[in-house]
């Protein structure tokens, strides 16, 4: 199979997705996608992650089930998603309409020395999501495709899945707050108000 070279830039992609995030709840994976979401603008309803690799999609599921009236966007990396592939099956079984899982796919482990991930060798994450039972799943290569899909991320009944192919171009680390309990409290207070501390 001839491989198509990615040309989208991750920071621009994530900024574009989050530009009109409204009341959506954002769950980035650890590493690059946490820096990407921080670079797009700090927000209390982003649950920055510095650990728990493989858990982003499931954290998104628990959140989406608890908040059925809010849209939840998981924005994670290909390596992080590969570690939690079973969660695609678990999410599909729950038929969670308000959940979108987006993989910012640079086909490499960006935090550990740019080793190739399985997606570089042809592993098709949207194909796996579709086979698991996601309502729609798609690989996105161009900004035109991205523009078409961004409104769907927020509105189309899910679970939705998209893998957005991006370059390995270096993006500076933009570090958000780091204390896990503080990130959690800030998120819950913004979402639940005074109930967060009952």
């Amino acid at each position: 199979m001839k491989k198509r070279s990615p040309n989208l830039e991750r920071r621009k992609v994530v900024a574009e997705i989050l530009k009109d995030r409204g009341g959506a709840l954002i769950v980035p994976g650890l590493g690059s996608t946490t820096w990407d979401t921080a670079a797009a603008g700090d927000h209390p309803l982003t649950f920055y992650s510095w650990g728990g690799m493989g858990g982003a999609a499931m954290t998104g599921l628990g959140l989406a089930l608890a908040q059925p009236k809010r849209r939840v966007l998981v924005i994670t990396g290909d390596g992080e998603m590969l570690m939690g592939l079973g969660s695609l099956a678990t999410i599909a079984v729950q038929e969670t309409r308000n959940l979108t899982v987006i993989v910012i796919d640079n086909e490499h482990y960006g935090e550990t020395g740019m080793q190739q991930t399985h997606t570089h060798h042809g592993v098709d994450l949207p194909g796996m999501a579709r086979a698991a039972g996601f309502c729609a799943a798609r690989t996105i290569y161009t900004s035109a495709q991205l523009r078409t899909w961004i409104p769907r991320f927020y509105r189309q009944p899910g679970p939705l899945f998209a893998s957005i192919k991006v370059t390995t171009q270096y993006a500076p680390m933009i570090l958000p707050m780091r204390d896990g309990a503080a990130i959690k409290h800030r998120f819950r207070e913004a979402l639940l108000g005074s109930k967060a501390f009952e």
């Binding site: 499931m58 628990g62 969660s87 990130i183 959690k184």
Partner: protein, 177 residues
């Protein structure tokens, strides 16, 4: 002894009642024979979302999301699944998320399968090593109060708690059946 038999068959029903009282809305599980009755009760309960997992650590990450969204979750598993959860439990500790794990033990009382023994023996140690409060219960009559206490500690104290339900309560697996 009919009284003892009745207690034995009723403890999953009492756990289910405790979970309802504690307002647990998401119950995630990897099946175990010891949890079969409780899983059925949760699946039949419209107030509870029952969530089958492909591996146990999914349930830990799910618990984080549930709490972020204002709901309470519990995770049911067999002792062999505890090892799968360790790194995800590290995240729960750093963020001080509540975790309620109900673990049915293998590799203990009358175990027939030697492959269950290493993880069974390691279960309480592994949990303690990542900061989970471990509450072991070997008597069916004490399961209800133990799970209620664990739920209280987890959700009001914002800590991870695991109740280990001893194989003596569940009964050794009968391989001749």
């Amino acid at each position: 002894m009919p009284v003892v038999m009745k207690q034995k068959s009723a403890w999953p029903d009492r756990i289910h009642a405790v979970l309802r009282d504690a307002d647990v809305r998401q119950v995630a599980y990897v099946p175990d024979a010891g949890h079969a009755r409780l899983i059925d009760l949760c699946r039949a309960d419209r107030a509870i979302r029952a969530i089958p997992l492909t591996t146990e650590e999914e349930g830990i990450a799910l618990s984080a999301g549930a709490w972020l969204g204002g709901e309470r979750a519990a995770v049911l598993m067999q002792s062999s699944g505890v090892g799968n959860c360790i790194n995800m439990l590290g995240m729960m500790r750093e963020c001080r998320f509540p975790v309620l794990m109900l673990v049915t033990m293998r590799g203990q009382w009358g175990e027939f399968n030697p492959w269950q023994v290493p993880m069974g023996k390691a279960t309480p140690v592994a949990l303690a090593s990542i900061g989970v409060v471990v509450q072991e219960v070997d008597d069916a009559a004490r399961i209800e109060e133990t799970v209620a206490a664990a739920a209280n500690l987890a959700f009001n104290g914002s800590v991870a708690v695991a109740v280990l339900i001893g194989q003596r309560v569940i009964g050794a697996k009968n391989w001749k059946k």
